[in-house]
Symmetry: C2
Subunit: 141 residues, 2 copies
DNA sequence: TTCCATGCAAACACTTTGCACCGTG
DNA sequence: CACGGTGCAAAGTGTTTGCATGGAA
């Protein structure tokens, strides 16, 4: 939390209970959509508003305290950045999420930088596919 | 087009003018959102409905004729599969899109398969970041 | 003639915004 | 006590669905 106050102060923003509650909820949840964050906050304390959740998640992301990635075709999911940087594998069949450290991608990132002049942001990356347990996709229809 | 009729027949689906128009539009556009596909179709022929566009893109994807990826935080973009398989780099600053062949990822895919039991779908992949021209993002923040 | 496909409009899910009030600094 | 933050409600996007009609096979 102290990290939060600090960052807020640096940016001339105010410390509010809502901001603390929301950051704490994201930390606890691991990966969560704005809706899920709202629900989590509400289990602990009183009702805060969904638009505050959206505004706050945006703020926290600007402060570098959380990140978001698109783990489904629908809502984005936020996760705390205190966890080390990672990217996500999402199984299209069982929807299991695996977090993978950035090392695997080191070579690829270097090549993309050298050959395509592009600096990729690993923390935001999501790769969809299938885990071996769900291996066989449907044949035709 | 003949490819379309063929695939449709294989799946017991019907060939309709809308389906041909929409596939042709995706081919022409390269990367396009459902909205853009609709607009493109309308420049050529008469009004077709947005819900038909959605339904048809879904069908075409099931037939393996188009694919979609998430190139922005908003709408998905569809592209024809006649272009060889590729993934996308998207610059957060200038929104330029670079298509990259799957080879760069060969090693990574092998490692993900071996170490995480995960078969990633390259064709759907998007990596966000910055191209060198847009290089320096803000510090901190 | 049979059903699949389409158009239309309404419903949905998610997100953003305007404004008055509240509370931090 | 000034001004940024919040709650609330309404409006905005992007997408899906139910149903009656239309048209491919």
């Amino acid at each position: 939390m102290s990290d939060l106050s600090e960052r807020l102060r640096e940016h001339g923003l105010r410390r509010t209970p809502q901001r603390e509650l929301i950051l704490a909820a994201v930390d606890r949840l691991g990966h969560a959509t704005p809706d899920e964050v709202l629900a989590e906050v509400r289990t602990r304390s009183e009702a805060i508003n969904i638009s505050t959740v959206y505004r706050t998640l945006e703020t926290l992301e600007e402060l570098g305290l959380v990140r978001h990635a698109h783990l489904s075709d629908r809502a984005p999911t936020y996760h705390s950045v205190v966890d080390h940087e990672h990217f996500h594998l999402v199984c299209r069949n069982c929807h299991r999420i695996v977090s993978v450290g950035p090392d695997v991608l080191a070579d690829v990132l270097a090549r993309l930088r050298d050959e395509h002049g592009f600096v990729a942001d690993v923390g935001h990356l999501t790769m969809f596919g299938r885990c071996v347990e769900c291996a066989e996709p449907e044949e035709e229809t």
